[in-house]
Symmetry: C2
DNA sequence: GCCGGATGTGGATACGTTTTCATGAATCTC
DNA sequence: GAGATTCATGAAAACGTATCCACATCCGGC
């Protein structure tokens, strides 16, 4: 496809033009090893004149690894993961590393397939939001792949560095806030895999001496349809609830939609708190009270972690923040 | 980092174990060339037994190109580009191609830098939402890079395949709809670079014999701050407008926010139409009437185009759709 | 029975880089 | 001043694959 004779200029061309060996050119350009000032200058001048750019292909093969980092998220359409990806890209850019991205759709099988592709490509550093129980990571981890988990911890992989939000505190803050307003029948809308938040939810209720009604803990898959079905089912079937915690912006969206559809008024009939401070939370009617999660930071920190490959495994827990708007009121 | 002795199994290992030459293994596995049924079977069996995965590194170097496609978008945080990326990823996945992503921040310089990185990595197929006037693409195009532009056409690069929305019709539909409601002082909030939409806006007004007030065409950069400043300035300074078209979801968000801040009621005081049918448009108060753009399709089609490298350059124009909700009313 | 073509096969080469190693020169040490 | 140490340098060897080419074999046709 490339015009004939338009061959890329290689290190060999530079070496010949500068009348030195290829090894010298490589050393000068990569900054490793020693070279006399005179030689260095000559090589740099020639390289600039020929507009030489070292080919990552050759380098990668030689080093037996591709530079750059792999990024696996469930759904790039979800603003939360969009921000997370943005954080990763931001850090990767300042480190000069390219990023290869893939979406898992929260499907462990698809995720396993993507891991295979990444390994095939020679990627050896990956940031992933693991789906399922994360068991498909075991062989990859054993083979020496540098992995950092984001958003969700993986049980039994505590030796793998992770960046997560402080779910426990976040959920407790939400529950305490609602309980403080007098609510006792509080429901939780959770995504499959948010076991941590469910556990924290139970604990927070128990701490307030509110009996846990298991029927008020509803699970959904990470799709709009599933989320809507769960929210609608809950609001329809249990009209006695007075408050609702949505474990993510997709679930919150579904809750708002379902409430509107069923003519359940927020916050008069039911108070609503959502995880994720997405832009539309403020535009919504009423503006949504949220538990904000630092998605972008999460991505940035994960990228930092995966790039410092020498360090010890460390789990970073980022704080959440309650942002009060207008979707919660006193118990009716 | 990889455990010692844990060397990857290479094509050579397979060849030895199957008692054939490496060339034969390569032929069998890549499906090219001829091989006897017996040999083929043996090779496949051995490859499976050894869990052999061909290294993309070696292949890429040999082929002098990296498989996979590069994707350059202004801001992955913007739902529109999130969807576009999702479309690209979807098509790329079914073609088995990895995707390397980068965000330009709408900065031509940053974009040029990213192009350089992509070329260095050996990528030879790129989908890009070009920023600025797209002049930094000239050398890349000349060097034989397979480029497809998405969302925005580049003037003077009509020979480059592109996938865009039918801006002209979209804008006209919006203006006609508003004019039909009796509005004559219609403002346009546009991002820098949306010259096409601005032109279409002027034409649509002219077609309705509405004089064009240049002051009602306001430009903003692709950031929340800039969008808000533009929207607030417009609403504050020109309280005589009765309708507003926002050229993107960021601008629409800013318009809603600014209107709320300035106590301008929608649609009573001013009618609002936004480009992009994002999920929150329905959750907003009032629900926003929008010109929907098929962002995901756009990404998918762009990926298709960039993968069929034999074809002629072709510009695909995708239709828009007016979705009427509740943010427009008759002229007050 | 000989020849032309098709078919299967493996050795060898090239892709562009980094890194090791040997060599020679220069500088230092006592 | 001789030996030891540092330094600059380039030739050569990988890295793992795809492909060119030569060779051998087989087959059908005359």
């Amino acid at each position: 496809m490339r015009p004939i004779g338009q061959r890329r200029t290689t290190i060999k061309d530079v070496a010949e033009a500068a009348e030195v060996g290829v090894a010298t050119v490589s050393r000068v350009l990569s900054g490793t090893g020693s070279a006399s000032a005179e030689t260095r200058e000559k090589v740099l001048a020639v390289a600039a004149r020929l507009d030489y750019r070292p080919s990552a292909l050759g380098r990668n093969l030689r080093r037996r690894r591709t530079g750059g980092i792999g990024l696996l998220v469930p759904d790039i359409t979800d603003v939360f993961y969009g921000r997370l990806a943005d954080g990763v890209l931001s850090c990767a850019r300042s480190a000069g590393e390219p990023v290869m991205i893939g979406t898992t759709g929260d499907d462990p099988e698809r995720e396993a397939h993507l891991i295979g592709t990444l390994i095939e490509e020679g990627l050896d550093r990956v940031i992933a939001v693991p789906s399922g129980d994360g068991e498909m990571w075991v062989p990859a981890l054993r083979s020496g792949l540098g992995v950092v988990f984001a958003e969700r911890p993986v049980r039994g992989a505590e030796h793998v560095p992770s960046v997560v939000t402080d779910d426990r505190t976040g959920v407790r803050t939400a529950v305490e806030y609602l309980a403080g307003l007098g609510h006792r029948r509080i429901a939780l809308l959770a995504r499959h895999g948010q076991a941590q938040r469910v556990r924290a939810f139970r604990e927070a209720l128990a701490a307030r001496a509110v009996p846990v009604d298991e029927e008020l803990i509803v699970h959904a898959h990470a799709t709009r349809d599933s989320a809507y079905a769960a929210a609608a089912g809950l609001l329809q079937h249990r009209s006695d609830i007075t408050a609702l915690v949505a474990g993510g912006n997709l679930l919150g969206e579904a809750a708002v939609l379902a409430a509107r559809e069923l003519d359940v008024r927020v916050p008069r009939d039911v108070s609503l708190i959502m995880f994720d401070d997405v832009p539309w939370a403020e535009l919504c009617h009423p503006p949504l009270t949220v538990i904000s999660q630092p998605a972008q930071d999460m991505g940035y920190r994960a990228a930092e972690l995966v790039l410092r490959e020498g360090r010890r495994a460390r789990t970073v827990t980022l704080p959440t923040e309650l942002i009060v708007r207008a979707s919660c009121g006193p118990r009716r």
